[in-house]
Every structure is written in C-alpha cells, then in structure tokens.
Symmetry: D3
Subunit: 69 residues, 6 copies
C-alpha cells in the first residue's frame, strides 16, 4: 500500500501503554528520536503491535508544526 | 515555551520549497530520517527558516497513524 | 500494509484537480457519497492517481466531527 | 449552518460505544461503508446520538490521506 | 446543525485572502483575539464569506495544543 | 520558542478535568470565549497547568473549520 502522507518514518516499537480505550505507542525512528502515537487499544491488537516489532509512523505534512528557539 | 504536543523532534532544516501560499520544509531529525512539514510562506519568513538552521518538528500524538507491513 | 486509522474506505477516483502545489482528489466510496482529499501534486504523481482508478480514503477517527440537524 | 469542510457525509448511526471520556460512534454512510468517529461522551449526550438516528460525518479534506494498493 | 466539536467560537470576519487554491480567513472572536483558518477558495465562495460578516471558528479539542512560557 | 502555527491565543486556564488518560483543559482567551483542548494527563503535569495560570491555545490554521448560519 502506498500512502499520500509525506511522512512514513520506519522504526522499532519501544513501548505500548494501553489506557481505558486509548493506547500510547512509542516508535524509535533513530537513536534518541522517538515518536509517540495515540491510537485505540483495538488498533494495537489489530496491528499486533509489540515492543521490538517494526512499525511506521505515518504523519501528514499539514499536521507538522515547526518551532524554532 | 513548553508544549503539550508529545512529539517535539529536534533536527536541521535540509530544504525549504515555497509554493504560491504554502511552503514545504524538510527537517532531518536523524541521519536518513527526514520530516516534511507544510506551513505558510509567511511562517517560513516569520521563523527565519533557512537550510542548515536548527528547528523542531512538533506533532500531536493523535496526529500520528501507525502502519505495519 | 495495515493502518491504525479506523477509517480505510475503498472507492474509485472520480476527479483529480491539481493547483499550484495542492491537488484536490475526489473518491466515490458509494453511489452518491464522494470523499474529497487535499494532497500534494507530488503525491498524486507518486501514487499514480487517475480517474477510474481504485483508491482508499484513510481518516483517523479523531479527525471526524459529527453533526446533527 | 454551512461548513467549510469539504466532506459532510450523511448517514445513519449504527453504534455508539462510550469509554471513560471518549466515545466511538459509527455512522453508515452507504451500505457497507461505515465511518468511525472518536468524540467525547459529553458530545454524544449533547447531540442526542442514538443508534438509528441520522447524523453527518464532517471531515476536512486536509485530514484525508489517500492510499493505493 | 449541532456539532460534536467542543470549540464553536462566534466572531466577525476581518480579512479574506485568496491564494491559488487556498484562502486564509481571519475571524475576530474577541477584541484583539483573531483566529486564522486555511480553507479552499471554493469554500469561501460557498459560504459567502465577506469582511464584516458573522462566522464561527470550529475546532476539535484534539487539535488544540497547549503551550506555557 | 516561535511556532509556525498561525494561532497562538493567550488566555487563562479556567478548568482542568483529568480522565483515565486524557484531560480536558479550558482556556479563557477573552471574556466569554473559552477554548477547550484535549491533551494527555502527563502533559497537564509536565506543563504544570493549574486553574488561574496563563497558557496559550496553539492551533494550525488548517485545523480550523469555518461555519456560517
């Protein structure tokens, strides 16, 4: 499957924390650079997400704010 | 300024492409991992974004989709 | 590729309108129900989107507002 | 009320699942095509959403990612 | 029409700037507090947006980042 | 820190309601105009958000839908 989203960042799942309905999943896309995603617990199960597994962080470019010091 | 967004990824601006009103800015947050952002041309000027400069990609965790092969 | 987004709606491309940098693509997901997406011209080319072709509209559940009369 | 969002898809509520603060609501917009929305429990009550009732899924075109096989 | 979005902020249109496909519309929701929206030129025409007219800025609570100094 | 988001609206925190993982925070940006944000409980703690404290509501212009009666 190809996606129109400009950001498809490959990495490794480093943590999966399930809440009552929402889970927070962290993907290490490079040493020291971790992306956090909030998805449903159902999606965690449907995708079979496990610590150590491979995953992509998919982000539309219009959802990326830029900040400078 | 501290932000509630879970993802504040530090990197270096590697390209700035201005369109008629929207610009596409690429930030290298680790070797081989580049984040693309779509912001207004005005914001590029207001932030003084230049290739080689330091910048952060700010992304809410609810805007990150996860994909697996 | 499996996605965490809850909405992956299959349909047929019925129009592709390119602007200076942004394109508006319409996907008919059922008779009389068309979803419009704004993506970059580059993504239109990268995905090879053409009228009559098959495509999916991918939408996070947190991006769907509900309205009632 | 008229909205600037390009996607205002009319359908019928087919399920409402409340979590601790977030509810998942499914709207059937055509036979076999269901859109899932994550809204607050308060919004479910404020809109009086019930299975069988009419509702619209409102989605900005910039929130729609396109995928192809 | 009632909306699930938590933020429906009433105000007055103070500027409409059309680009090639995207327009930037500013709504003054209180003295000195202006909200800027990026919508399509078509939506500006469809809603009949004019400086001095009344309009609402509609924002999902999950799209609001909080910052502190 | 400067942000590319067009909307950085200064105000006062008027309520903080924590759920199991998500908190709803209200910021009064002008008399009678309150913006609600959904962020994680962790972010509430990390930012030290308290009723009466100063905070900014940060919103990308592409996340603002416009409505008219």
């Amino acid at each position: 499957m190809k996606l129109s989203a400009r950001n498809v960042l490959k990495g490794k799942v480093v943590s999966v924390e399930k809440g009552s309905t929402t889970a927070h999943v962290k993907i290490e896309i490079a040493s020291g650079q971790v992306v956090t995603s909030a998805i449903t617990n159902d999606s965690v199960d449907a995708l079979g997400l496990k610590v150590g597994g491979e995953a992509y962080a998919v982000i539309k470019s219009s959802d990326v704010i830029i900040a400078v010091d």
